[in-house]
Assembly symmetry: C2
Homo-oligomer: 594 residues x 2
């Protein structure tokens, strides 16, 4: 009934797409992309029409002789197994392959070229994810400086493999040189508004790797529940979670998530949002939140964190010391968004403090006061920090760290970070001053700016967030875009196209400013999602963001994208991810997990 | 981030709901419903505060001595097992129950009061679903005239059972007298735009039973694919399905679906929509569709079914003869919607035929011509039929069946149906003429109306569909409402509330007209859903429709509904149905099926 009526003209074009997954697709003009099912599209790619066979019982993925990585690089060993299973597992289960058959391509040799492959380190915002892939007969070679590039290249290789009509695997002669457009390509999941079982988080980390995402922004706690089990403050989850045993993340759970992510080249950036969004903290930490008043009498309800008590900062110091140890990533997200001043205004002790400090009635000064102390606390743990845009909007003066944090897009930070990790402190270095020069007229306001502050832009329509990106970068901050990618928002139809069209560098600004854009994040807030519907709601819509953040800026052809994405979506389904359909059609191997 | 901003005032009211499932719920004002987790709400109910214990190792569901049904009523035996598992299965898996414990309520006695319990028949639109339930110590009694009422009562009994803090089961002293407000409470699933694996269909039949739905409207074929495997015309699915082996419904599949539905008191009404929406038919049945022309030359594309060929009607006769045998329900849905005249207009042979028939250029006359022949064909199979509203809108004159079909809301049809099923024909009977009197001023246009035509209203906003309901019923047709319940349409937020507020009898009309409203159907069209996301998209949103169609018209309190629905949703999750969350919160037993 609804089809012709609602889709109107779309259905007048009904074409069969003979893509490898043979998904019939209506809607955009259907073309059969020369790039097959590749997603996100590599930076430089040459695919010949020459097809080679791959046989699961002769083909193998191996370390090349020259590689600095070997069998004891477990991260790669796991990846070899994982991608072999992706490429042949289904066929083998189906018993389809013709045994004894020789492969035209008998080996994929993985060659890590740098002295330190980084098998045992954690990925960082400066990790080298570039790789070079040559598929030829009889040997395919994947060259990468580090394991991180090898992981991306293995995903790309697996995407080049396709089934013929007999279910046999083939791959075309191909040459690819690839690297990400942006260094920070993240997904935010919210485990506070609904608890997300570990298996849901792991399944989505798998899907992230299939889409070359490299940051899991774990919005782990919020007003509604506190599932993070803190060894230092067990009452936080004991009293602040939905359930103290079934709805918490134990230290082992967190360790597992971090290692699962690491072996896929994904960072885990934890967010502990304060001073707002902390209702659940108050249940397990008496005296942490501000008592709200009606006139002279406490109402029994509580507002944001109480910024006027020493006990607050003693707690935060100890808490963030633990967090910085539990989460190895160089960044922690401190939130700082949507601070409601109502309760602060109602509280007589806070009024008194405001007077003493000479803040008058400007409560954003009190917010700055609090956040500056928190930044000190976190700086002392040698972490860089991320904040939501309000911290910038409210003109919070960000004190310089006494330790230089992580710079984006150059290698300096690795050196500096080693130094600081070793416990030394360093003074601000030359490159920082160069950067400082570029702050422009705002320099006086921002003379104390901390170069490793990462401001996440999430508010507003296209015009608004472009203005915000311009302002943030003009002020010399590095920034992440999220506004157009709030995937919790849903609407009827093919909304992936709008998601796909947004570009983080599409704002008025200098080249210098554009360089301050570190990347973006797709956010799936938890009001309406849990284990029952999260994964299909996120995928393949988040895949549209993934290509925008990885591929070249010029990759914008909707028809070509659609042709590749329907096949990519079916591949995710075949790999066990319940990615929802983009439109009418089918997958050769439908979702079996229900 | 998003919570406070997007939900605004809602989050100012944060209250904990100590419901049995302890789901924390923000949003509507939270009350703790006196009706617990009952959904849909029974017609008459008295729950006392006296609580009885139930122990899984002593409690049993049995046939009462006076019951006309016994152990050889397999439909009930299956239901006893199913509901025992629902009530205790989870606990037993958890090993939570305290063995050896006696039950305050040791038995639920199921008593079928009428001579024929209908264990082996198919449910119909006139099946008696009423029941009477008394929960007391030591015996609970469920009285129903037929097994259909017993099935509804078992669901209600299972909804009265709740867990205490030790995981032990309890039930309160209760008296319920219940029956449906509407006889036709349906869900439409579309297996053409995406193929739905059998397990998806069965899972949703399970969920339908939990919500007291009684009609599965199977929109089994459409333009995009023809998954129904026809023994008479195997090429239809061989050539018209997405895949001839993996994406079809074999006769065994269909049998299984029908029996699975029957044992849950659910009818399976198949829809074979013609003359439009038939592109996929054309692939396996040469000459069935109208060749479109550009000037004098065929374009190679095809339009609706070709209404001017005898071969068309020979095919349809044979096809619907098969369908009427494969699907035992007394109704078949014939579609008749969205017929596009463009191709007919382009075809010279059709032009010629129009002239011969004196249709001029009024192609709706040609549509009528076709549909009248189809109605004759179906009438000859002793089926009643359903059509989409266009058949009414286009003033198609519906010829009287030579066999009286099924009347709604009285028992006459049972008699007549037996007669006709036995192969006899009967003339229109007195009740029909009584009905005829009520047609009002339109009677001349509708003097040949067929009383068992069921018109389904699906178009338009609230005002439009209310006008349509008024017009259809004024014309003496029975009708079903679907317009406000197109659940494939999605929007951000708690859209269940709008779904819940719509009422099928809320239009300007006489009591006589209101009686013509047989019920409604929630429709989930398949453009954007398949096995990956169908179930959470449908549930619990379809539950809102279920209560509207079952419970009394006066049941409209949103806060009370919300309190019961969050618990009902968690119960569906506990029973293995991935029903999505309504809002922030959690279930004691989260979805494990991922």
């Amino acid at each position: 009934m609804v089809a012709l009526l609602e889709l109107g003209a779309l259905l007048l074009v009904v074409t069969a797409c003979q893509g490898r997954y043979e998904e019939e697709v209506d809607g955009p003009n259907i073309i059969n992309s020369e790039y097959g099912s590749l997603w996100p599209l590599p930076q430089n790619i040459q695919i010949s029409s020459v097809a080679f066979s791959l046989s699961s019982n002769t083909f193998q993925i191996v370390h090349s002789q020259q590689s600095s990585a070997g069998p004891n690089c477990y991260l790669l060993q796991n990846a070899f197994r994982r991608y072999f299973e992706y490429m042949f597992g289904f066929t083998k289960k189906q018993g389809r392959y013709r045994s004894g058959l020789a492969s035209d391509v008998s080996e994929l040799q993985v060659w890590i070229t740098s002295a330190d492959p980084e098998c045992y380190t954690y990925p960082s915002v400066t990790s080298d994810e570039s790789y070079e892939l040559t598929v030829d007969q009889p040997i395919a070679v994947l060259k990468a400086s580090k394991v991180w590039g090898a992981l991306r290249g293995l995903e790309t290789f697996s995407q080049l493999v396709y089934e013929d009509d007999y279910g046999a695997r083939n791959i075309n002669k191909t040459a690819i040189l690839d690297f990400p457009r942006f260094a920070h390509r993240g997904i935010l999941l919210d485990s506070s508004r609904h608890f997300l079982p570990i298996k849901v988080i792991l399944a989505n980390l798998e899907a992230m790797a299939m889409n070359k995402y490299n940051v899991f922004h774990w919005h782990i706690v919020d007003d509604h529940s506190f599932p993070y089990q803190s060894p230092s403050f067990p009452d936080l989850s004991q009293k602040g979670s939905f359930h103290p045993y079934t709805h918490i993340y134990t230290p082992s759970d967190v360790k597992m998530v971090i290692e699962f992510a690491r072996t896929r080249g994904i960072r885990v950036v934890s967010e502990f949002d304060t001073p707002g969004h902390t209702q659940s903290w108050g249940k397990g930490q008496m005296g942490l939140l501000t008592p709200c008043y009606a006139g002279d009498t406490p109402t029994g309800t509580f507002g944001p964190v109480n910024p006027i008590l020493n006990s607050t900062y003693e707690f935060m110091s100890q808490f963030f010391k633990e967090v910085s140890a539990v989460f190895p990533d160089a960044y922690v997200h401190l939130g700082g968004d949507e601070v409601d001043f109502t309760c602060w205004k109602s509280n007589p002790d806070i009024k008194k403090f405001m007077d003493e400090q000479g803040f008058g009635t400007d409560y954003s000064k009190l917010e700055s006061f609090y956040i500056q102390k928190i930044l000190d606390i976190v700086a002392a743990t040698n972490k860089g920090y991320m904040v939501w845009q309000e911290v910038f909007d409210n003109k919070v003066k960000l004190k310089p760290n006494t330790v230089v944090g992580v710079w984006i897009n150059n290698k300096l930070d690795e050196e500096l970070h080693k130094v600081t990790a070793a416990g030394y402190t360093t003074i601000l270095s030359a490159p920082w001053y160069l950067d400082y020069i570029s702050y422009g007229q705002d320099w006086q306001r921002y003379y104390k700016i901390n170069p490793d502050t990462l401001v996440q832009v999430w508010k507003g329509n296209e015009q608004k967030y472009q203005e915000e990106m311009a302002a943030v970068t003009a002020a010399g901050f590095q920034t992440l875009l999220s506004s157009p990618w709030y995937l919790n928002r849903i609407s009827y139809g093919q909304d992936w196209q709008q998601i796909y069209k947004a570009d983080p560098q599409n704002f008025n600004g200098t080249e210098e400013q554009k360089k301050k854009v570190v990347g973006g994040e797709a956010c799936l807030w938890g009001e309406y999602v849990d284990a029952t519907n999260l994964t299909p709601r996120l995928w393949p819509r988040a895949s549209a963001v993934a290509e925008r953040l990885w591929s070249d800026k010029s990759v914008t052809n909707i028809d070509d994208a659609y042709s590749r994405l329907v096949q990519h979506r079916c591949r995710m389904v075949e790999r066990g991810i319940p990615a929802e359909p983009l439109f009418v059609g089918y997958c050769k191997h439908e979702y079996k997990g229900l």
